[in-house]
Amino acid sequence: MRKLLLYLIIITTGIVFIARLFYLQIYNTSYASLSEDNAIKVIYDYPQRGAIYDRDGKLLVTNQPSYDVMVIPRELKPFDTLEFCSILNITKEKLKKRLKKARVYSPRVPSIVIPQLTKDEYAYLQEKMRKFDGFYIQKRSLREYQTTGAANVLGYIGEVNDALIRKDPYYLSGDLIGIGGVEKQYEKELRGIKGVKRIQKDRFNRDIGPYKNGKFDTLPVNGKDLTLTLDSKLQAYGQKLMENKRGGIVVLEPASGEILALVTAPTYKPELLVGRKRSPNFTKLVYDTIGKPLYDRGLKGEYPPGSPFKTINALIGLQENVIDVKEGISCRMGYYYGKNGRKLGCHSHRSPLSMIPGIANSCNAYFATVYRRIIEKYDTPQKGIDTWREHVQSFGLGNYLGYDLPTGKRGKVPTSEYYNKIYQYPTYKWYATATLSNSIGQGEVIATPIQLANMTAAIANRGFYYTPHIIKNVNGKPIENENYTTPKVTTIDKEHFEPVIEGMHQVYTQGTALSLQVEGIEICGKTGTAENFTKINGKRTQLTDHSVFIAFAPKDNPKIAIAVFIENGYWGSRYAGKIASLMIEKHINGTISRTDLEKWLLTHSLEEEYAKQYSGEPFKINQ
């Protein structure tokens, strides 16, 4: 009985299928005629890619038409290759290679033979195209840049690669996709959705109208326009100041976390990566392994933060209640510790100093004392380091910030495990003094410029920050991403910020940035000078210090927070401080009153300094 049922199921299925075939093939005659005129050509309707504006509504990126020569390998008929090659100005070998590649991709699906012709080339070719069966021309749009700056932010578009085509069925060979920056991050918003049209043809390959009255057609959905938080004037000014230097500037609006400027130097003009020039230019940029123009130093440059980090240690000291604002700490050209009288050097200044002048004068001994007290407050240095680390991390250091640009680095804030490992705990013990260089932002702490700018914004806000972001509006609608609209709170209580901010203010009124005041603007800042090393022929060699500066202004109700990092710029106020001060003036006043300072920066180059380590000769640093 059971056996019988299985026979029954199988035979019934067979009969049902045969009946269905009978219905489809014999009974219903409409299919035969349908197939007669069922040659369908699929045409994709590419939507306009969204435009990109800056925060003031200035158009930065728009589109220009371009034309691709496409091929459907299966429809190819023998043709005059010589003429074809001469019209398109390519070699026969290249054409053969492209056609072979197209056939491997698919004999039926169109592939690009020659991408991105200009309007003129297209006009000439269009007339002759009908001679070549199997080829046709597809219109697409390329990017057109109305700005020469911000290439690192905007990114670029290019043909989608094969790996991605396999992963995401939306993309077809030859489609354009955002590859870097905003173009990549907001690809889905910018690209829109392409439409599909099916044109029915008869047996003689003549169009006879839309297939099934357009039942299966879809309309293209245009890409959305993006408004960035970027201030293109400030961005351009920053790029101008950074010429002949290497490093990054990150400018944030503390009250919102909006990125006002994100400068990396050296950089390139975005129009270099458009259309057919993209490939050779891109190769050139990639092969510049010394200047690394494609490397966004504002986001990816990892440097020791140097003295600006002292402000964080001051705040933690107050929060952990290990120091009083008024307590003076003496400094004898440095901080002495350990059995053998080891020393963390300092420069000459009056002594003892309390917190506010301590910050203004950037006294190493002061912060070494505070840091040591923080760590030693706890039973074990492990516990101390981890508590300290928690505070530091609440400023967005030591991990990806979560901003909306597709590149970045974590930076580093060391854990107790890290020290356990390098000091081989528990075989050997280690103490707060072994990690003392953290006190002045010089040891294991590493941060990217955008992390420093964000940290500055958190100080300016007195204890919270918004995750930095570049997107302001999508199609005119403000962003609703909670990550960018809810504040992240630090572990430091609000009242502890005032003395630190006062200290940063005095950096300008009487401290290390005395010469960089801007009339009418109350700036708070902190200079930094970060030692750094490289390997030359496998030998660890010290290079000229990095010049670091963080600042925000005005002191009350801050409008701008900035971090500047100049590689090998020597001391904080020498390059970074000057650039920061000009950027602040530019943003708040709109004009520059100190033209001398501006001129000094525009005429001073660090190229010579950078050349030193590649010269192969011995060189001196910090000159």
Partner: protein, 488 residues
């Protein structure tokens, strides 16, 4: 000394296999050649690759025949574990092709382990069921058999390849043959039907349909107690079902639908409701359990069944809409043919139907299919290969293929029944189940009878892994069968 020779091989099965593979390759050739000269060295053509894969499958056949029969039985567990590991490995080393991470990249070729896992699972199930201590009527053993079947399916689903996972339903064949109570089949089939219907339509409709069905069932049960009228009732319900079906088809002829307008929908709904009640009624009549004293219990049981169905439908709906993410939903929608993509709803099936329909009695001739040539049917050399048969060989050719498959399956049942060892028989029925499910789903999909579920047509579709998987599956059974004279 075991007497296993070439002569003991069942050549009828082998010939059917050769016919299917050969005819399949001819159709792959037709759907993938282009105007260039025939060449067996240009690997960019699908037909060239398939030719080499067929050649290699001969090697596989020789290996399966060379191996001692005892090997399959003894190492079934190990083979099963290895195949599970190969499936799990995909999550780490897998390569994604058109959205599914189901392949290993080995040099230039891609291997799809799920195609081989079927044969491995069949061996493991055969080994378990043929164990002296296994009693399929014990709940614990049922659960274990079920786990052997379900584990590979569960690993395959999130790749995502729900089509391949669905194939594991095939193992109900051997389970049923070995004496699993029929209620499992009924519940399983009902759950599958409800699942698909719920996703295709709204759960409310499905629940109403189920209610109507149950009412019909109940009424019939009540009436059944008056036995003397039973044959008349049988006849009347049977007749009314036929009349309703005929009515339904007449009403849905295009000219009538357009004439009636919205009224046709109302009439349709009424007819379908009546039909559901009548079918429920009829099944109720056929079912043999009857006892008027237990009517009360029966009512409460039916209410319970109804509650279970309602809960099932709504939870399927809820999980689908609220727990799944959009990408999961998209995948199921693709499987169910609900996908809204750039190609438009139902485009594939529509094109496939046109291709088949345009074939007529004898087809357009080999390599002459205009639909096939034009590339209108997507995935034509793989899942939709049958549409090429329909177009180029017509009704006669397509019917021949269906007959060949039915003959193969019937032959295999015959072989399975003559096995003396339970291991061989269970394995044989697993092979039958797997081949049948592939055959039914694939041709059902291509002819537009079923939603789009992408699984290949055995021996026919383009693809090395698929071909090898089916070849190994079948030829292990042929080997087992050729050895039956030695089994006591």
């Amino acid at each position: 000394m075991a007497k296993s020779s070439i002569a003991a091989i069942d050549w009828i099965t082998v010939l059917l296999f050769i016919a299917l593979v050969g005819f399949g390759w001819g159709n792959i050739y037709s759907s993938s050649y282009d105007n260039e000269a025939f060449s067996l060295t240009d690997f960019s053509h699908a037909y060239v690759r398939q030719a080499y894969w067929i050649l290699f499958s001969i090697v596989l056949i020789i290996i399966t025949q060379a191996v001692e029969v005892k090997f399959y039985e003894r190492f079934a567990g190990l083979i099963y574990v290895i195949s599970l590991l190969s499936l799990l490995g995909l999550f780490v080393f897998g390569k994604t092709i058109s959205g599914a991470t189901s392949w290993y990249q080995l040099g230039p070729a891609s291997i799809q382990p799920s195609e081989f896992a079927k044969a491995c699972t069949a061996l493991a199930l055969a080994k378990f069921l043929s164990d002296m201590q296994t009693n399929i009527n014990l709940l614990g053993h049922q659960v274990r058999a079920f786990l052997i079947i379900a584990i590979p399916a569960i690993i395959i689903i999130p790749q995502p390849d729900p089509g391949s996972a669905l194939v594991y339903a095939a193992f109900f064949f051997p389970l049923y043959r070995e004496g699993l109570a029929a209620i499992y089949l009924i519940v399983g089939a009902a759950a599958a039907i409800l699942f698909v219907l719920t996703l295709l339509y709204s759960p409310v409709f499905v629940v109403i349909g189920a209610l109507l069905f149950l009412i019909g069932f109940l009424i019939s049960k009540s009436i059944y107690t008056h036995r003397e009228r039973k044959s008349k009732i049988h006849l009347t319900t049977g007749l009314s079902i036929s009349i309703l079906i005929v009515l339904y088809f007449i009403l849905n002829i295009e000219s009538i639908v357009t004439k009636l307008g919205i009224l046709s929908h109302i009439i349709n709904l009424t007819i379908i409701s009546l039909l559901i009640i009548a079918i429920g009624f009829f099944i109720g009549l056929l079912s043999k359990k009857k006892s008027s004293e237990r009517q009360k219990i029966r009512y409460s049981r039916f209410i319970l069944v109804f509650i279970v169905i309602t809960g099932f439908c709504f939870s399927v709906n809820y999980i689908f809409n609220n727990v799944f993410e959009q990408r999961h939903r998209d995948r199921f929608n693709i499987v169910l043919g609900k996908e809204v993509d750039s190609k438009g709803i139902g485009y594939n099936t529509n094109q496939s139907e046109i291709a088949i329909g345009s074939g007529g009695w004898t087809g357009k001739g080999w390599k002459e299919g205009t639909q096939t040539k034009g590339g209108f049917v997507p995935e034509q050399s793989t899942d939709y290969i049958f549409s090429t048969v329909g177009e180029e060989w017509g009704f006669l050719g397509a019917t021949l293929i269906i007959i060949l498959f039915v003959l193969l399956l019937i032959r295999l049942i015959h072989l399975a029944e003559r096995q003396k060892s339970q291991f061989s028989r269970v394995y044989g029925y697993s092979v039958i189940g797997i081949l049948f499910i592939h055959f039914a789903i694939n041709i059902g999909m291509v002819t537009g009878l079923m939603p789009t579920i992408g699984i290949p047509l055995p021996f026919f579709s383009y693809g090395g892994s698929g071909l090898w998987g089916f070849t190994i599956l079948l030829f292990i059974f042929i080997k087992l069968d050729s050895n039956r004279v030695n089994e006591w």
